[in-house]
């Protein structure tokens, strides 16, 4: 079995499967969000935030962020190992490739934290969207409001 210390799943077969599974997740998520804007061209903040902050969408978006990190790493790694090699870069190729992989990893980590903060909301004191219409997750709790009592 071919392994590589910088591949995502430590195995090419694992990366092969992960790349496809994450692609399906990202494709479905992209169609979902794109579809919302197609159906609601004049959506506005309140309607969009209410929809995007619903529990199913928060779960779906979190899954999509995980898929994005894996997909982007495997894709960028594949491109990097194909082109940043001795044929083009001579003896510097290992350093060049590691710098590229390090920058990729750092940016992906930034995306991960940023995206989770956006999806789970309110971490830095951002105001929750329109009150009342939202489920308890996640903005309401971040500003100390009691979630609306449901079903009572």
């Amino acid at each position: 079995m071919v392994t590589n210390v910088t591949s995502f799943g430590r195995s090419g077969l694992s990366d092969f499967v992960l790349q496809r599974v994450s692609a399906v997740v990202l494709g479905a998520f992209g169609l979902c969000v794109g579809g919302w804007f197609a159906v609601n061209p004049e959506g506005g903040h309140a309607a969009f935030a209410a929809w995007f902050s619903s529990t199913p969408m928060v779960v779906f978006a979190t899954l999509a962020v995980g898929a994005l990190v894996a997909h982007a790493w495997i894709g960028m790694w594949t491109v990097g190992t194909d082109y940043l090699r001795p044929h083009y870069f001579g003896r510097a190729s290992t350093v060049v490739r590691l710098a590229y992989q390090g920058a990729t990893a750092a940016l992906l980590f930034l995306y991960l934290i940023w995206a989770l903060a956006v999806i789970w909301g309110g971490l830095n004191g951002s105001t929750p969207p329109a009150t009342g219409e939202m489920p308890a997750l996640p903005h309401a709790s971040a500003v100390g409001e009691a979630p609306p009592a449901e079903g009572s």
Binding site: R20, G75, W114, V118
Partner: protein, 123 residues
């Protein structure tokens, strides 16, 4: 590496449509790595508040903001369509020589239409 084995076919001397489709899948993938930051920035603004949503909406009305969004959406459309083709190839749908060429042309054609549609929607 000092081995004498052949390293590659010079891509400039022989570039079939399947190679164009493949390299475009890679280029759009790397472009989306940067485009993700832009989309995330817009999403952050849109979810933040009415004012933030208005700022995001205003940003994509500026020439540069709109062009950046169009490039990102066009790259996304290509990457998506080429990805679907890739999954079909995994199941041996269209993986004959002629089928692969047809699939590559279809991917390029559909993406061109999708990019045009995105442009029409934005402008």
């Amino acid at each position: 590496m000092t081995s004498e084995r052949p390293v590659e076919i010079a891509p400039t001397s022989y570039l079939p449509v399947t190679a164009v489709a493949s390299i475009t899948h890679r280029i759009t993938g790397v472009a989306l790595f940067a485009g993700t930051a832009y989309l995330l920035f817009l999403l952050d603004l849109a979810l933040d508040s009415e004012a933030g949503f208005a700022r995001a909406a205003a940003l994509i009305e500026t020439g540069l903001g709109k062009f950046a969004l169009w490039i990102t959406l066009a790259a996304l459309a290509y990457h998506f369509i080429a990805g679907v083709r890739h999954l079909l190839l995994d199941f041996h749908v269209g993986d004959s020589l002629a089928g692969a060429r047809r699939g590559a042309w279809t991917t390029l054609g559909l993406s061109f239409l999708a990019a045009a549609a995105a442009g029409a929607w934005l402008w």
